[in-house]
Symmetry: C2
Subunit: 337 residues, 2 copies
Amino acid sequence: MPRTPNDAATPRRRTTIYDIARTAGVSAAAVSLALNQPGRLSADSERRILAVADELGYRANPFARAVATGTTQLIGLLVHDSANPVFAGAVRGVTDAAAKVGYTVVVSDTHDLATPVTTILERLLPLVDGAVSCSARVTPEALATVGGTPIVLVNREVAGRDSVIPDVRAATRAAIELLVGRGHRDLGFIAGPQDSWLSGYRLALLEREVAASAARLQVVASVEPTIDGGREALAQLEGRCTAVLTFNDLIAFGVLLEARDRGLRVPEDLSVVGFDDTFAAVLVTPALTTISTELEQASRLATVRLLAGLGHPNSDPDARIEGRLTVRDSVGAGPHR
Amino acid sequence: MPRTPNDAATPRRRTTIYDIARTAGVSAAAVSLALNQPGRLSADSERRILAVADELGYRANPFARAVATGTTQLIGLLVHDSANPVFAGAVRGVTDAAAKVGYTVVVSDTHDLATPVTTILERLLPLVDGAVSCSARVTPEALATVGGTPIVLVNREVAGRDSVIPDVRAATRAAIELLVGRGHRDLGFIAGPQDSWLSGYRLALLEREVAASAARLQVVASVEPTIDGGREALAQLEGRCTAVLTFNDLIAFGVLLEARDRGLRVPEDLSVVGFDDTFAAVLVTPALTTISTELEQASRLATVRLLAGLGHPNSDPDARIEGRLTVRDSVGAGPHR
DNA sequence: TTGAAAGCGCTAACAG
DNA sequence: CTGTTAGCGCTTTCAA
């Protein structure tokens, strides 16, 4: 092993409960009690011990505690790709809920395809008391290889695992009604990656709503859930539909950009509807009509559930989360009007 | 303490090196060696131990190791606000560099003003071998309260701490030259929060370059580094300048949005230049001219330096990082042309 | 109310 | 080359 971290003039040894015990004239156990179970010792000793601890700048060693108790006060969050703004909401939701019960969150991004997701899980899970996954790469197969750490999934159903899936049915219906109402009959869906459970789920919802309408729906492309993916997808649209729904906002942005580059007008020539309602939806021109998927709320709820299972009942674990359609300028009149 | 995690039918006890030792007929120490120092045991024993470990589904307990070695193989990353896309680059940069030497990264977001940054540091630092900070809230004062954990700062100088600050001087000069060349003489700067070191730094650079030009520069506002901040700032601009540089892209987006709402044309009536070059710069209309600040590279470098100090020499720790001006449509002709 | 002692799982001297 | 023996810092029965 290379040189140690404290080769320089770093007097690195942190103060331990033994240091406190010694200078306070009590046992280490007493210190532990004073620190963790207020009121368990005589008010007098407790006060004195705490004072010494403070004076010595004591900071508990979380690892020592973890090895002794088997619990870490850490929860993991797996996000698919932190470059997608929708996941910032997930970070916020999980962090908020975790902070309420004194937990810290460790975020892992699974986007790097060079690293197998099982490796990512193997590194993260032993560290935490539980995890929330918002990553499409955390598949049933990957989960099968991991041990007992509880995991709550967001936007994915897996047998035997708890999961939170925002209900976007009503919003999806509203989107279809909007499009049909504006005169569109030929709708396209630009799907995410083939193996994306969530993409399939959104498609199924769309198909169901479209079936009850005067319109038809076809999957016009299946691409990476990124701006570039959206750009690629546009080429496959031509003439096949007058309105397109995309698996997520990023794809929609790509469609918008590519359309402009090719001289296709939105919404005159093509209407576009996204999923997620990320902050950039109002940045593009025309502003994007999109279905919010409430990932922040969903991840917050997933965390509440996870923590409840860990013995930290918190707010209502049975809340329902519902998406919402926000109509902006990217939807215009279709030919059947 | 509430019920334990394994109240249900969870046979949660993980297999330890003792289990392996027992079924392989060796000592725990031998197992440890086999696992961590390949070749240190006879090929025969090693193979057998590894086989048993595998068979029993052994996963090392990172905490036990940490308490024994004093090292955790974890590094922390502090970001100011994960909703700002520029920080996604930071996550990527740090994660990449860390992964190369087998480190895992723990991300903490400091944006929640309800939580003192000292508290955030107190929770994060004991967990990690070192940290990279990309947060404006990690001030010298906050740092003064923390212990010996090594921290490398990005975009902030603090006495006694290592730091990485991308060099944006040339890009800044190019921006000023562009504006002056297009006929602008009255330039405005929309600063970030008053206490932002980085905002002051960027302003200083701008002032220096403007001084050498035919133009004047005034700080027209100081706002939160968000889209809303940018919207607010616009009101304070009127008539004071024909071109505005903003502390970051988010502010610039706000300016663009608010300008449109108020019927002010960009770039005809106002030219706008941002800092960061986030992905959304190409999403807005007009596309934003902006100075890339290379946060991904900078955080990667910060991580390399941090790890080098931790005894993991990696790639070149002395690289220089330079920002770049990307000219897009948000800059137009000024009155002096 | 407090302390002694055992132990969490792993590592690292040190013997053998 | 391998195993024994101490710890690492903290928690937690169990006695005193």
